[in-house]
Each structure stands twice: as structure tokens, then as C-alpha cells.
């Protein structure tokens, strides 16, 4: 078994890929918790598409891949924010307009300049083979920044996510918190683009957090679970991709979805068991734990 796990590590591309997916999976899982609790799943999906358009434009202008993607991602954020501020156009509509237009720009340029079609396939569908040491440094920097910022901003992030208006009354600069969070999200998406691909980043963000939500009803635990599930998903997806010779991004996403399904099924079977054997008990892992906790509280323990 150990030999089986160690064998692919002989290859440099696999070592780089494994490290990259571990970091990307963990940071996507962590930030994904806030993405789903803030109802921003579609933002993640849209921003990845806008960043792709930016990467293509950057290529035309002889800019770095990440620089073009970053500038366009930030531009998309600002435009979405500006459009929704008046209240006449809702967030989902603004994301649809802005990010799809930017993605379409990238596709239009590619179709015009067909010589670099191949280079952008990695950004669209993910390709672990070409991860350089420079990419690893960038992904490491983004992951560390995400972890540190989420730790130091835990309190304002939690309060403004739960109850934005009251947080503002209490003196939290909610607009600033939202901006910092959006920047982190954009950076994470850009760092993940070449690993899982634009078309599948949203799933990488959401699946670990959604699985963690099924496992706990505690915000801080949900963050830790999502981080661990994200990291495991990345590493397991990488190995499975090597074994079955499938696209890395797609394999990671499929493994994340499988974990979610398993967790949901376990919850479902547990509910059935509780209903059959303890009709008075609440159903679900999470609810059962709460019920027990409430009983302990009632008993003054």
C-alpha cells in the first residue's frame, strides 16, 4: 500500500501537483464555507469565468497569466458591486452580465487568434502536469494569506455573514470586510485556475464546505472540517487521476461530489435509524448531537 502511494511521488510533476492540489483544496474548502453561507456560490463561478477572459487578454498584451486574470477578476468584482448598488439589478443578474461578457471576450479572442488554443485548455479544464515552482510559490502565498486573514478576521467575518445590518450598527465596517473577502476569493480562484480549471472551480469551492455543513452545526468546526475535506479531496483526486489517467480537475471535483453523497447518505440512513429506534429523538447526526446537548443543558450538566 505504502509503495503504491509512494510510487507516483518519484515524478516531479506529481509532487508539484500533489502539493498544489493540497493547498488549493484546503484554501478553497476554507473560503467555500463563507461562500455558501453568504450565498455567493454563483459569484465564485462567475469570477472564475471573468478571470479566464482576463488571462486571455493578458496573453495578448504580453502580461503574466495571473496578472491578466487578477486584473479582470478585480474589475469584474468592482463592476458587479457598482451595478448592484442601485438595487435595480440583482446580484445574480449582474454576475451573469459582467462575468459572462468577460469570458466571452476571452473565447472570442481565442477563436480569432487560433495559435494559442492549446495553452488555455489547462485554464478551462485544469491540467496538473504543468505546475511550476513559480506556480507553487504563488499558490502557497495565496493559501497562507487566506488562512491568516480568515483567522484574524474571524470575528467580523462571522458577525457580518450572520447578520450584516446589525454588524454595521455595532461598528463593523461591513463593506470593507466584504471587499477583503472578495479579494481573497478572487485570489483563490486565480491560484486554482490551472489546477481544476475555470469550469470546475465553483465545485471545488462549494463541495467541501457543503459536506462540512452536513457534518456539523458549528461555524468554527465547519471551517476546520471544510479545510481538511478540501485538502483530502485534492490529494485523493490527484492519486485517482494518476491511477485512472483522467483529467485532474474533473477527478478532484468528482471525488468531492462523492464525499458529499456519502455524507448525505450516512445522514439519511442515520435519520432512518433514529426514527425507527428512537421516535422521540431528533434526526440527523447534527440534530441528534444538538438534541443530546440540549438534554444535557436541561439537566443542568
Amino acid at each position: 500500500m505504502i509503495e503504491f502511494l509512494l510510487e507516483p511521488l518519484e515524478y516531479e510533476f506529481f509532487r508539484h501537483g500533489l502539493l498544489a492540489t493540497l493547498m488549493v483544496g484546503a484554501s478553497c474548502g476554507l473560503i467555500g464555507v463563507l461562500v455558501i453561507l453568504r450565498g455567493m456560490s454563483y459569484v465564485g463561478h462567475g469570477l472564475s469565468h471573468a478571470a479566464f477572459g482576463g488571462a486571455v487578454v493578458g496573453f495578448i498584451l504580453n502580461l503574466n497569466f495571473y496578472a491578466g486574470a487578477g486584473v479582470m477578476g478585480l474589475l469584474a468584482l468592482l463592476l458587479i458591486n457598482r451595478i448592484t448598488r442601485s438595487g435595480t439589478v440583482k446580484l445574480d443578474a449582474a454576475i451573469g452580465i459582467v462575468t459572462n461578457a468577460m469570458f466571452a471576450l476571452g473565447v472570442a479572442i481565442i477563436s480569432q487568434v487560433r495559435t494559442f488554443n492549446q495553452s488555455f485548455e489547462a485554464a478551462l479544464f485544469g491540467n496538473i502536469l504543468g505546475i511550476t515552482e513559480g506556480d507553487l510559490l504563488l499558490i502557497g502565498f495565496v493559501s497562507l494569506s487566506t488562512l491568516t486573514t480568515m483567522f484574524l478576521m474571524y470575528r467580523p467575518l462571522l458577525f457580518s455573514t450572520f447578520d450584516q445590518e446589525t454588524a454595521q450598527v455595532f461598528g463593523i465596517r461591513t463593506a470593507r470586510v466584504q471587499l477583503v473577502f472578495s479579494l481573497l476569493l478572487t485570489l483563490t480562484i486565480i491560484a486554482s485556475m490551472n489546477i481544476v480549471g475555470v469550469t470546475m472551480i465553483a465545485a471545488t469551492l462549494i463541495a467541501p464546505a457543503a459536506t462540512a455543513r452536513l457534518m456539523t452545526d458549528c461555524f468554527s468546526r465547519m471551517l476546520i472540517y471544510a479545510l481538511i475535506i478540501g485538502g483530502i479531496t485534492g490529494v485523493a483526486g490527484m492519486y485517482l487521476s494518476y491511477i485512472f489517467n483522467t483529467a485532474s480537475g474533473a477527478t478532484i471535483v468528482l471525488f468531492g461530489a462523492l464525499l458529499y453523497c456519502l455524507c448525505w447518505l450516512t445522514n439519511f440512513l442515520h435519520d432512518r435509524y433514529i426514527l425507527q429506534n428512537h421516535p422521540d429523538g431528533k434526526s440527523g447526526f447534527v440534530q441528534t448531537a444538538q438534541h443530546q446537548s440540549a438534554e444535557r443543558n436541561e439537566a443542568g450538566l
Binding site: 442601485s86 438595487g87 474571524y154 454588524a167
Partner: protein, 274 residues
């Protein structure tokens, strides 16, 4: 419970809330124009009025979450930018929050401290002790570790109230504290607010429940896209003022010092089935 003074040495001459010529609205839609309103320190006042009459906009303007289009809002003589953090306690409408959010009652109350400078995610011993004291006082100590989704409307209201009180505010603002809870919980919350007010905290709330205002609040403000009248409930709850506020038939049934406000003609129960 001690309350903090908001202002300087001249604080005693300033009302707790003062609006001068305030116009508020959203874009081109004006909700109220040139409103001037003063609420004294230590007051326990309720704003009543029909749905979409601007009550919530008025609260948001006072709280500073919405900037007025013109005019001045002062809290104890100071602009919102000058008052210290945590001086206002706020309890939002219960409906404004997603109750499936993964937090416990204790975590909700602790959020009141999240405006401080402490960077660590976990609470300090002082913060936890303060939360436990408040939870004891408000009768929610036993459900501190419960998920907020597993609590009743009354417990959620008390958790929000405890969160609003953790910083010893001088002003407590509540948006519809009587909605979303049963009659018993309504009266308990209003009694609790009366106790809190007796300790010197100015309280301003909005409500649709005129009878609760009549029985629990010493001061009422009738509002309909502007100030209609304000004063003691017995002086304000007249057919004329309530009809001007709500624009429909309001019946007031008086009996000695008590009165009951009903919408439309009172129901006459017949003795037998028709």
C-alpha cells in the same frame, strides 16, 4: 447593569436622539421629508404606523445604516461618526436572519463583542462571563449551547437582546420586537425592556401591536411618512390620531384606565348559530 454616558460634560442638555429637518429615501423615492424629532434620555418610546410608512427607514437613519438625503441626526448631541463603538445596542427583526446558520445561542451573544480590538477568534474569560451573566438575567442560560435554529422565537429575541446589551449601551433600538413571537413572549420581552429602561437605558422600538404599546410603553410616536403625533398613549390613542396614522376605521374600547384598540367594527358574538 451600568450604562455608559454617550457624551461630554454637557450631555444632560442633549436629547438622546435628535433629528433636525431630516429627509430620507432611496434614490428618487422619498420616504419622509424634513422630519424633526427629539427623544429624551431615558425614554421608552414606541414608533407605530402602517406597513411601509417609513418606520424602518427612520430606524436605519437613526442607526446610521442609511445616510439621510439632508438634515442632521445627533445622538446625545454628537454625530454618528463621533459616538464610541457599542454605544448603540440594536435588535433587528427576527425575520431578517437566516436561522439555519450554524451558530449556538452563546456564539450569537458573543458577536456583541466582535467590534472590539481582540483579534483572536475565541472569547476571553471576561467576555464569556458577561455572556453568562446576561443569559442568566434574560432567562436563556439553559439554552446557551443550543443551536440557534433549535430555539423558540422568544429565546431568539432574548439572545438578540443579550447581544445588544453586552457593551452596556446607552441607547437600545429594536425593530419589531413583538413580531414573530407569541403573546406570552411578547409581554415577557416588553416587561424585560421596561426593566432595562428603568436602569437608564433609552429605548426606541417599532411595532404594529398598538395594545402592547398602550399597556407597556410610556411614550408613543405615530408615524406615517412623517410625524403624526407623539405623547403618552392615553393622549395619543384617539380616533382622530389613529385614523390619520392608519387611514382606516380604528375602534378604541375604553374601560376606566384600560383601553383596547381594534381594527374596524368590533365583532358582536351572537348567542346561537344562524
Amino acid at each position: 447593569m451600568s450604562t455608559r454616558a454617550i457624551s461630554s460634560t454637557e450631555s444632560h442638555i442633549h436629547p438622546a436622539i435628535s433629528l433636525s429637518d431630516v429627509t430620507a429615501g432611496y434614490g428618487r423615492h422619498i420616504v419622509f421629508k424634513r422630519l424633526s424629532l427629539k427623544i429624551d434620555r431615558g425614554q421608552f418610546a414606541g414608533i407605530v404606523g402602517p406597513t411601509a410608512c417609513g418606520k424602518t427607514t427612520l430606524l436605519k437613519t437613526i442607526l446610521g445604516t442609511q445616510s439621510p438625503l439632508s438634515g442632521t441626526v445627533l445622538l446625545d448631541g454628537q454625530t454618528l461618526n463621533d459616538i464610541p463603538r457599542g454605544i448603540i445596542g440594536y435588535v433587528p427583526q427576527l425575520e431578517s436572519v437566516d436561522w439555519r446558520f450554524p451558530v449556538t445561542v452563546e456564539e450569537v451573544i458573543l458577536m456583541g463583542f466582535y467590534t472590539g480590538k481582540r483579534p483572536w477568534p475565541w472569547p476571553s474569560r471576561e467576555e464569556r462571563e458577561r455572556v453568562h451573566d446576561l443569559a442568566h438575567r434574560l432567562g436563556i442560560y439553559r439554552c446557551l449551547r443550543q443551536q440557534i435554529s433549535n430555539t423558540s422565537g422568544g429565546q431568539r429575541q432574548r439572545a438578540f437582546l443579550a447581544r445588544a446589551l453586552v457593551n452596556n449601551p446607552a441607547l437600545l433600538v429594536l425593530d419589531e420586537p413583538t413580531s414573530g413571537v407569541d403573546i406570552k413572549a411578547q409581554h415577557e420581552v416588553l416587561h424585560l425592556l421596561g426593566d432595562i429602561n428603568s436602569e437608564g437605558i433609552t429605548i426606541l422600538l417599532t411595532t404594529h401591536d398598538l395594545n402592547a404599546v398602550a399597556s407597556h410603553l410610556p411614550w408613543v410616536i405615530c408615524f406615517r411618512n412623517g410625524l403624526i403625533a407623539q405623547g403618552k398613549p392615553r393622549d395619543i390613542f384617539t380616533n382622530d390620531i389613529l385614523t390619520r396614522t392608519y387611514g382606516g376605521d380604528i375602534t378604541i374600547v375604553r374601560h376606566e384606565d384600560y383601553f383596547l384598540i381594534a381594527n374596524g367594527t368590533p365583532i358582536h358574538f351572537s348567542d346561537g348559530d344562524q
